[in-house]
């Protein structure tokens, strides 16, 4: 029997699976994490590589979107300058809830090697971050693993409307 056909000898012949609302909602959310196209520096190249055919983010349902309105996760891939800080906050505010942030690479985590006047020393000074990926730049495998951990984090939470504020501001 072909795999895609319904196995009528199981589950009383019905193509039915029983689950809870939380699980089905989180299943949907965690397997369609649409990411905002947000390459700020060289980490953006690794992010693009993760999206391209060799590493293939589409397998996780992660599709890059050019609009924050359609995005679920913001992958801050690169150096965040002080001039750009207000725009990252604006883009984050434009994303619809629930929303998540992955801070990718040393620069986004801590400012990295740019210990200067013009670099934000970690993007968590401006927006709340769910996941920090180490590396300069992180390999696409790291980003894939990060997305899988984010899926796990999404599944661990309730699917209710209200998302807890991540930082008192």
């Amino acid at each position: 029997m072909a795999q895609h056909k319904v196995n009528y000898t199981q589950d009383g012949g019905l193509p039915v699976a029983l689950t809870s609302i939380d699980k089905i909602v989180n299943w949907g959310r965690s397997n369609s994490i649409w990411a905002l196209t947000y390459g700020l520096a060289c980490c953006g190249i690794e992010m693009m590589a993760s999206g391209a055919s060799r590493f293939d983010f589409d397998r996780y349902g992660t599709i890059f979107r050019a609009s924050p309105r359609q995005a679920d996760v913001m992958i801050v891939a690169g150096t965040l300058t002080k001039k750009h800080a207000e725009f990252i906050k604006r883009l984050y505010d434009q994303m619809t809830e629930p929303r998540w942030v992955i801070s990718m690479g040393s620069c986004a985590n801590t400012g990295g090697m740019f210990n200067t006047y013009a670099t934000v020393q970690g993007c968590d000074r401006v927006i709340p971050v769910d996941l920090y990926l180490p590396g300069c730049a992180p390999r696409p495998e790291t980003l894939q693993y990060g997305v899988m951990l984010l899926q796990k984090k999404i599944r661990a939470n309730k699917a209710g409307n209200a998302q807890k504020p991540k930082r008192l501001m």
């Binding site: 699976a17 299943w27 906050k89 801590t110 210990n115 599944r155 501001m169």
Partner: protein, 268 residues
């Protein structure tokens, strides 16, 4: 760690001076040693005052008066075939004699020669814009204003180019600290959340090598992760962070290392 010493004015005094140190000088040649440069210099000095001139690394350097810059560059572009202004900026000599040195790097494609025009201005003085002669001076002069605070008269859009418009300070001045002043340190916090958020967000951590395993706000020990803000005692349970829960995930097949096929032979 080395004791901290204030570096407010790094140009004024060196940390260490060798008594017998002689700084290497790039050798200078007479302008007369090159025919093309000698002819160019004669054409410039016929109309404008030339204070000093020499050839260094195959390029002629000419010092002129600040008010002559537009005329000199116009002469060079229209009559001497130096058609490109490849670079211009300033050098900070404030600690030495309260002045800036402005340089214009000119290129002649037909003569295959480069000339550097230089002059000094005092602090607070403005330069004459050459944007009408060379479009490349547009952004260069804006950058010079941004980085040194030197304004250019008759420039069409004399605003900052690299730093935000509401930035305070000029970062390429030698008195400007590399890690930024008070304004720079709180710029993004003040702008986005307001000054009252400073206490909540806290100061920047500038020590990039800082690792504190007892600080669960900022650090996570790999394999021993705890929720953010938990007090760390040092004997945490090891929790391996697998990407998928033990019980499996609804409609997603769990990857099993044991049952998976491992390809050992690279020549398969």
């Amino acid at each position: 760690m080395r004791a901290y010493t204030p570096k407010d004015n790094v140009q004024a005094k060196a940390y260490y001076t060798d008594r017998y140190y002689v700084s290497p000088q790039v050798p200078k040649q007479e302008v007369a040693s090159d025919e093309v440069f000698a002819a160019d210099l004669a054409a410039i000095s016929a109309k404008f005052e030339v204070k000093e001139s020499y050839i260094q690394v195959g390029q002629m350097v000419v010092y002129i008066n600040a008010q002559d810059i537009y005329g000199v560059l116009e002469l060079m572009r229209d009559e001497l075939a130096y058609t490109q202004l490849t670079e211009m900026s300033a050098i900070d000599w404030l600690a030495k004699d309260n002045s800036f040195e402005i340089f214009y790097q000119m290129l002649s494609m037909t003569k295959r020669k480069r000339i550097r025009i230089k002059y000094f201005i005092q602090k607070g003085e403005a330069v004459n814009s050459v944007e009408k002669l060379f479009r490349s001076a547009d952004w260069s002069e804006r950058e010079m204003y941004d980085m040194f605070g030197i304004e250019a008269n008759n420039h069409p859009f004399m605003k900052r180019i690299l730093m935000p418009y509401d930035w305070q300070g000029h970062p390429l001045l030698k008195t400007y600290p590399l890690e930024g002043d008070e304004f720079a340190a709180w710029y993004e916090v003040d702008k986005i959340y307001g000054k009252e958020a400073r206490d909540i967000i806290g100061p920047e951590i500038r020590d990039t090598a800082r690792v504190d395993r007892y600080d669960s706000e900022r650090f996570a020990r790999l394999g021993f992760e705890v929720p953010k803000g938990t007090e760390i005692t040092g004997n945490e349970e090891k929790n391996e962070n697998a990407y998928q829960e033990e019980g499996g995930v609804f409609l997603v097949k769990k990857f099993d290392k044991e049952s998976s096929k491992v390809i050992d032979d690279p020549q398969r």
